[in-house]
């Protein structure tokens, strides 16, 4: 599909297939380096939020898009990552380089624990089970003295070898690097034996088992990896916001992540990135739009919250009704059209 005929295994598996891709990548990197110099602090902030969301979305797409296991509790794993780093850096005084992977592992551990019962549950029931799990995690975080509930927990700045990350600009480079790393890892997982097993499980799990893929091991692994990503995203979020409350990690966060991967395209890496960017960016876009017309229609100020939610819901519904493959699907079609023009097929 797309008109390129690969002649060797190596070239088929390559991450960057053509010279074009490499050039665009170089331009993109250069763009990122100069970004902070002409974007406003607010816009950098939006990009930072997107970087964190990308990491979470990549994780969720691995378990939902590639392995076919519906998880409506992703927000809970993000919460676990966030609170692990908050508690570890505060109570245990551990440095960031330790608390970050720790958060990932804690979340992964819980993810695998959730993955075990998931072996018995299919589709709808799995979705509901993960949903209930999400609620219970939120409840525990709220009512446990250790996590201070709605009083909130303050989180320290990121300090690596004595260098503290303070400004939006510094966060920008830092978070982008993580997002890029996460993307690279995800791409690698997908094109490896694990990725192919995940896809086999998604397509027909009983048949996959019959072919010799150990279902239990891979399903649990999928949950574990996805939760690891969520945990990392949560830890980064905690250090970025410097203040966390359980309410930030409720059902709406889980739904937002699902929306990201649906909108972006299930089972694609590009989709996770595009979806994360769009879902995170839309509420800010609404803020920009309402700011422009605020003076002429002052009543809009109070309606922003409703507009944000309504437009979000509308986009999810429209995407599902008219473009089930998501943005990645649109991108693929556009690329195909461009490549094979003026031929239709």
């Amino acid at each position: 599909m797309g008109g390129k005929f690969e002649t060797s295994y190596k070239s088929d598996m390559a991450l960057f297939k053509t010279l074009w891709v490499k050039v665009w990548l170089a331009i993109f990197i250069a763009f990122i380096i100069v970004c902070p110099y002409f974007l406003s602090l607010y816009q950098l902030g939006i990009l930072n939020e997107i970087s964190i969301a990308v990491i979470g979305a990549l994780g969720l797409n691995l378990v939902v898009g590639y392995t076919g296991q519906i998880s409506l509790g992703h927000g809970a794993f993000v919460a676990i990552g966030a609170y692990t780093t908050a508690l570890a850096s505060d109570h245990l005084g551990l440095p960031f380089v330790v608390t970050l992977p720790l958060s990932g592992f804690m979340a992964a551990l819980l993810g695998m624990i959730v993955g075990v019962p998931a072996l018995r549950l299919k589709g709808l029931y799995l979705a509901l089970g993960t949903l209930a799990f999400g609620f219970i995690v939120e409840y525990v975080l709220f009512h446990w003295d250790l996590t201070k509930g709605d009083m909130g927990m303050a989180v320290k700045r990121i300090s690596i070898a004595g260098y503290e990350i303070r400004s939006e600009k510094e966060y920008f480079y830092f978070l982008f690097a993580f997002a890029a790393l996460a993307t690279l890892c995800a791409k690698n997982i997908v094109r490896s034996k694990f990725g192919r097993s995940f896809i086999a499980i998604r397509d027909r799990d009983i048949a996959a088992e019959a072919m010799g893929i150990p279902l239990a091991k891979y399903k649990v692994m999928a949950f574990g990896i996805s939760s690891f990503y969520a945990g990392i995203a949560g830890a980064l979020l905690a250090h970025y916001q410097k203040w966390i409350v359980p309410g930030s990690f409720d059902l709406s966060l889980s739904i937002a992540y699902i929306a990201m991967i649906i909108l972006g395209g299930l089972g694609t890496i590009l989709g996770s990135i595009l979806g994360a960017a769009l879902i995170t960016g839309i509420p800010h876009g609404i803020v920009y739009a309402t700011d422009l017309v605020k003076d002429s229609y002052p009543v809009l100020g109070g309606l922003i919250v409703d507009l944000k939610m309504g437009i979000f819901g509308l986009i999810v519904v429209l995407a599902l009704l008219f473009e089930p493959q998501g943005l990645a699907g649109i991108y693929r079609r556009a690329k195909l059209y461009w490549k094979t023009w003026p031929f239709k097929y």
Binding site: I27, V34, G152, W243, S248, I304
Partner: protein, 404 residues
Amino acid sequence: MRTRVFMVTALAAGLLCLMLSAAAGSEVRGVTDKEVKLACLVDFSGPGKYAGTPISDAFKDYVAWVNDQGGVSGRKIELIVEDNGILPNTTMNAAKKVILKDGVFAIAFNLGSAGASAILPLCEENKVVMMPHGANKKFFDPGNQWVFVPHTVQYSMAALAVEYVLEKNPKARIGMIYQDDGFGREGLEGAQAAAKFMNSQIVEAAPYKMGTIDFSPQMNAMKEAKVDWIVLWTYLAQSAAIIKQKTKMGWDVNLISNNTTGVPPLFDLVGDEAEGYLLVTPYAPGYMDLPGINRAKEINKKYGNYEKQLGNPKYPDYLYLAGWGYIEAAVEGLRKAGKDLTPESYIKGLESINNYDMGGMGPNITFGPKRHVSSFSSLILKADAKNKRFVIEKPITEPKTPQQ
């Protein structure tokens, strides 16, 4: 193919150089020679929604009046009102927007103590003075150089409420229903401190998660503990729900609450059942004839919509006055800081405010280098359901319980 790649790269490089040159310089955020930007973060959409409109009305009227007089030190005030949804996340979004996007100089009002704690790191990082409403004790003990509270904190109000009850009846059994976050917990602390001071105690304390309106477990616990008085540290919807629950249970217990619930919509929600409901608040009711209140009414008549606002008996008037107190303090700080306005000079300006006259509307405002919370005093009001308003039960007093 190679030439195409080369051309695209060159084009992109050229674009990049262009963008690089667009880098901007910086001065003091939110301040120019002609203008200073202030933000007012209130709730238009969350549990504290009924407070959003009156507070922003007060801000708008006062700022309009100040600008009409020529502004402060030759600068007109640009007011940015933003919805903060009272919850910490939404408050963080709102604060990020007004500081990073709109570039305000100071946040002259933030509704919600949980949100105030959440945005404090952001304000410190960006050197933005913040004035939280319903703030917590930690803002004055140990205190924070960027935070100023022009009125009374939760701790002091709760202490006064409990002292009032125990003065009336030293043997009263007091219970407390409080919101399980910074706002409610601080009320609990104040109540417990006052109870201890008066040689009593809070016999039963029941928290609830913000947004709850089912209070049967809490009220049952209170009834089992045989309390005569319940201190409510809640928002409007919860107070209404508790009054309804009380009726449902057929139990005639006395209620005293914090200031956020004493508004006319309470009568719409529970009608005559609100009779006898008490609350503690720093501001006098709007219908009273006091110089400060009359002045506010004059300005409201000129710049606002008097019939709908201060002249309307259904209007949450003292929320308007609460907002008034904040913007007065904020602008007075600007006046004292003078022509050379920076975040540091503003702090000095605010700290130099001494006994600023509020005309009886509420306690006078005094700040100092070690005193970023202006007062500890409040009044006690009682609900008069027939006339759908609140009357003064006890005038402005300072609690006897030690506050530091």
